[in-house]
């Protein structure tokens, strides 16, 4: 059987985290009443004119610089003309002829662990459209223009990916860079990051590209992986049957794990692009580029290296902590307050990950403050609480961001380090458990564990297990 190679290129839309829209002063906030965040500009009223939000250019430049792109010094906007009610002017202001960034790349690891460059063809800026709400009861549709004019960048890759794994690696890499920049939260499920997959197959060893299709409506990494696998098989099957792959746009239905054609190349629209006459060209100076470069944050790879050398935490830990910027920020802030890096790392990797998993949360959703984590670590460092209490307190920190010092005080959870009082209790435990005492004396070291446990029970968990152990051994000789 012939083996086939999959060739994939991506078009990734990212919604930028500006406070206001790309061409007017309206808020970009989610969740408002329909059309609450609108004005004459973003509803396409006659006589209104767009004015470019500078922050959009700076975010686009920052993403471009972080992905090794050339910044276009003389960039322009173009109009993409098409009629649809979510698009109030019936043209979208985008960039075709002179996009702001070109010729970049990011590096991913391929399946053998080697670095592989995925080239970026261009990054351009554009505006988002509004949303249609269909009222089936009334048999009519309403338009909400709150999203109209929200800034987007579109990152167009070259067809350099060969598998779903590479696609996911590339997307994760992009997401991490953009999140570290603070340019977007990049949530696929909420649509702040959207990926369209261009895919073709060819017989292994050939140079010529096959006919490609474009897949839309991919809302999660899992959906992307499934869609790629499905489309690859569909195309191979067509070729094996002696049929042709049709160049078309397809829509993925993740519930049915099936895609269906939306439009073919023949009925592709003519967007009649031309330069947007209402906006002046964007001229980018060396100084501006330098300013953006200077303000670039430390990205993951550098951060990871620094954590290993500066905080002496294991590479594995550093890898996990830097997986999202939010987690790395919590780590660094907690350490900067004075907590031991390895202990902070242990909390983030152990208990934090466990709780995230059980509560089905993303790391971005962590709400506790570094101050409270640092306080908790200090309580354990000072021997004021034992580890089982610490675990209980951390859970409260994680869910409600409580102050551990106050909490321990209020609930009387402080560890009892008073040896005199403990000795009395332990004597009683010994008296009540002759069997275990015998076992221990007969060489069963494990029996002491039971006695420690009984003592903890008697002290309602507040005793210091180390001290119990010491006293027990003294008393039992």
């Amino acid at each position: 059987m012939t083996s086939y190679e999959t060739v994939i290129g991506l078009e990734v839309h990212v919604e930028l985290a500006t406070k206001t829209k790309i061409f007017c002063g309206c808020s970009t906030a989610f969740g408002a009443e329909p059309n609450a965040h609108t004005c004459p500009v973003c509803t396409g009223m006659p006589g209104s004119l767009p004015v470019l939000n500078k922050q959009v250019v700076e975010y686009a430049m920052a993403v471009g610089l972080a992905t090794n792109c050339d910044i276009t010094r003389y960039s322009k906007f173009d109009r993409k003309n098409y009629f649809y009610p979510d698009n109030p002017q019936n043209y979208q202001i985008s960039q075709l002829y002179l996009p702001i960034c070109r010729n970049g790349y990011v590096e991913i690891e391929d399946k053998d662990g080697n670095l592989k460059k995925i080239r970026i063809h261009e990054i351009h800026m554009e505006e988002d459209a509004g949303k249609l709400i269909h009222d089936e009861w009334d048999d009519c549709s309403y338009v909400d223009y709150n999203r109209s004019g929200v800034p987007l960048i579109e990152i167009v890759s070259e067809p350099d990916m060969r598998s779903a794994e590479e696609v996911i690696s590339y997307l994760e890499k992009l997401r991490l860079i953009i999140q570290y920049l603070g340019a977007s939260d990049c949530k696929l499920n909420e649509g702040s990051m959207r990926a369209d997959v261009n895919l073709s197959v060819r017989k292994a060893g050939t140079d010529k590209f096959g006919t490609r299709t474009e897949m839309k409506n991919l809302n999660s990494f899992k959906a992307i992986a499934r869609a790629i696998e499905n489309e690859r098989e569909r195309q191979i099957e067509l070729i094996e049957d002696g049929k042709q792959v049709v160049q078309e746009t397809r829509r993925w239905d993740d519930n049915k794990e099936y895609s269906y054609p939306m439009r073919s190349k023949e009925d592709a629209m003519d967007y009649r692009y031309f330069p947007e006459p209402d906006l002046v060209p964007i001229v980018i100076s060396d100084e501006w580029i330098e300013k953006i470069k200077k303000n670039q944050p430390e990205f993951r790879d550098e951060k990871k290296k620094r954590y290993i050398s500066e905080f002496e935490i294991p590479e594995y830990d550093a890898g996990i902590i830097t997986q999202t910027k939010h987690l790395a920020d919590i780590f660094e802030e907690t350490v900067s307050i004075g907590a031991n890096p390895k202990k902070v790392s242990n909390y983030l990797m152990g208990e934090t990950m466990r709780l995230l998993k059980s509560k089905e949360m993303e790391p971005e959703e962590i709400k506790f403050s570094p101050e409270n984590l640092a306080k908790l670590i200090k309580l354990t460092d000072d021997n004021l609480i034992n580890s089982s209490v610490a675990k209980e307190v951390f859970e409260k920190v994680f869910t409600d961001d409580i102050d551990p010092v106050e909490y321990v005080e209020k609930n009387g959870l402080k560890q009892d380090n008073d040896e005199g009082g403990l000795t009395e209790i332990i004597k009683e435990v010994i008296e009540n458990n002759p069997q275990s005492v015998n076992d221990y004396k007969n060489g069963k070291d494990k029996a002491i564990g039971f006695l420690v446990g009984q003592t903890m029970k008697a002290t309602k968990g507040k005793a210091n297990p180390g001290i119990i152990n010491k006293i027990l051994k003294e008393l039992l000789g």
């Binding site: 004459p40 004015v51 031309f274």
Partner: protein
């Protein structure tokens, strides 16, 4: 002297001296409108109550010293494609009938801050597409000098209203000559400033890269005064330029000694009427007598201006007019099946023939496979035309020529042959392509009693040169007013 015979600046002076009230003025204008409108059809929207209310407020502000400027209390008419908050603004098109803007154009806000009282909205060619004010959905405006003739266009309502004393001055818009040409046909002064001088915010776009708002008025003094008020930097318009030299009234000087004036031979070609040529050259002679250095020269490329203009303006228009789709505002067809049918029927019924012609032309020149051959080539021609003017202005301070090859044609003559109508724009169109300022003022009559317009063109941001030349000519020419028959 009849109150209606004052210029805007003269009237404001009388108002400030309390010789006449704002209310009296507004009532006089409405009386005049009542008398003339049935014949001329200058206005598409009038509201006496609103104007009188506004007069009252302006009077109070003048009385308490809040408003002191040269236009305080003067009634103004606004072209129907310039947004006025709360007052219908329809571009004289069925598709925008009953559309009421939620905001005013920056130029209108500036005038209101200066104490202007808005009388109403003036008739125009639909979406400013036309040279005669005949493509309006409200019917044609007539030329006050001879009602069998057109007033010119597209700001024909504004020009005719000023000429007929139905207002003291008006705002128009000029994409290819739409202020200057009707000013010439109606015997009033009209000016298009340098592109980017007056904010386009609130001007319903036709050809965005060419459109400018400007005044139509009774004399050059009014023209400089109005332009000074409406020329402000506007952050809402990205193409608006911050200028420090908008004190245009400082150029009202009766002195052209040593001023270098060039007359392009290309502006007196085959199609140019003999009487027009004579009147314009006589005006040049007047300036020469006053000490200007006048000579003829070859501007070149003039014949390419018309195809370049109609390509670029139509391309931009085809996109600018996409928003009129029956979804959000304006006209929507009565019966339809589904979205696309609604779009199709609404736009077929809502737009007139000339607008549809330009939308089709514009869509064609932008379509894939034709973009390079038409639109891109037109942009190259535009750049060459700008360069030809740059060369000319390295030698001359002012370029002088006719504003149109003929006086106002008869009603109904132009629309039968659109190409011929487009060719009538030959004297004004390159000024828009090059972004230059141009002023039009009357310089004589044809044998059948129609006004002839003189056009003075300046380099970018050199409005003061043409205002000075126009003012000096006007002083020598004397009053140019239409007496009632």
């Amino acid at each position: 002297m009849d109150i209606l015979d004052y210029t805007a600046v003269e009237l404001s002076d009388k108002i400030k001296k309390k010789e006449v009230s704002v209310k009296e003025t507004v009532m006089a204008v409405f009386d005049r409108i009542d008398k003339m409108e049935s014949e001329l059809n200058c206005y598409v929207e009038l509201d006496r109550c609103r104007a009188l209310e506004s007069a009252q407020k302006v009077q109070e502000k003048i009385d308490n010293g809040e408003i002191t400027g040269e236009l305080a209390g003067v009634p103004v008419a606004i072209k129907d494609n310039i947004c006025t908050k709360g007052i219908p603004t329809t571009c004289s098109s069925k598709i925008l009938k009953n559309f009421v803007p939620t905001f005013s154009a920056q130029a209108v806000i500036n005038l209101e801050n200066a104490g202007a009282v808005i009388i109403g909205k003036t008739n125009m060619d639909e979406f400013a597409m036309g040279s005669t004010t005949e493509t309006s959905c409200y019917g044609a405006t007539k030329n006050p000098w001879n009602t069998e003739h057109v007033p010119g266009g597209s700001s024909g309502g504004s020009a005719a209203a000023v000429a007929a004393k139905e207002c003291y001055y008006a705002l128009g818009s000029d994409t290819g000559g739409s202020i200057r040409q009707p000013a010439g046909y109606c015997g009033v002064v009209g000016m298009k400033p340098t592109y980017s001088t007056v904010s386009r915010y609130g001007l319903i776009a036709y050809g965005s890269s060419l459109d400018q708002i400007g005044p139509l008025c009774k004399d050059v003094t009014d023209c400089a005064t109005i332009l000074e008020v409406i020329s402000t930097h506007d952050p809402k318009d990205s193409t608006s330029v911050k200028r420090e030299d908008t004190d245009f009234t400082s150029a009202l000087i009766d002195d052209v000694k040593g001023m270098k004036i060039g007359i392009p031979k290309d502006y007196f070609g085959e199609g140019t009427d003999k009487e027009v040529k004579e009147a314009v050259l006589r005006a040049a002679e007047v300036l020469k007598e006053k000490g200007a250095v006048v000579e003829e020269f070859d501007l070149s490329l003039v014949e390419y201006a018309i195809p370049a203009y109609y390509t670029i303006a139509a391309a931009e228009a085809s996109s600018n007019l996409e928003r009129f789709d029956g979804i959000k505002y304006g006209y929507r067809t009565e019966e339809y099946e589904g979205l696309h049918n609604m779009y199709k029927k609404t736009r077929s019924e809502g737009f007139g023939a000339e607008v549809k012609r330009r939308i089709m032309l514009g869509s064609f020149v932008l379509s894939s496979g034709y973009y390079d051959a038409y639109y891109l080539k037109a942009l190259k021609v535009k750049a060459l035309i700008k360069k030809a003017f740059d060369d000319a202005f390295s030698k001359y301070d002012v370029i002088l020529g006719p504003v149109a090859p003929t006086p106002a044609p008869k009603l109904g003559e132009s629309l039968v042959d659109p190409i011929k109508m487009y060719q009538g724009d030959i004297d004004t169109i390159s000024v828009n392509l090059a972004g230059l300022p141009g002023i039009s003022l009357p310089c004589g009559f044809s044998s059948n009693g129609l006004p002839i317009g003189l056009q003075l063109i300046g380099d970018c941001f050199k409005e003061k040169n043409i205002i000075r030349a126009a003012y000096a000519y006007e002083q020598a020419r004397g009053k140019f007013v239409k007496e009632d028959r």
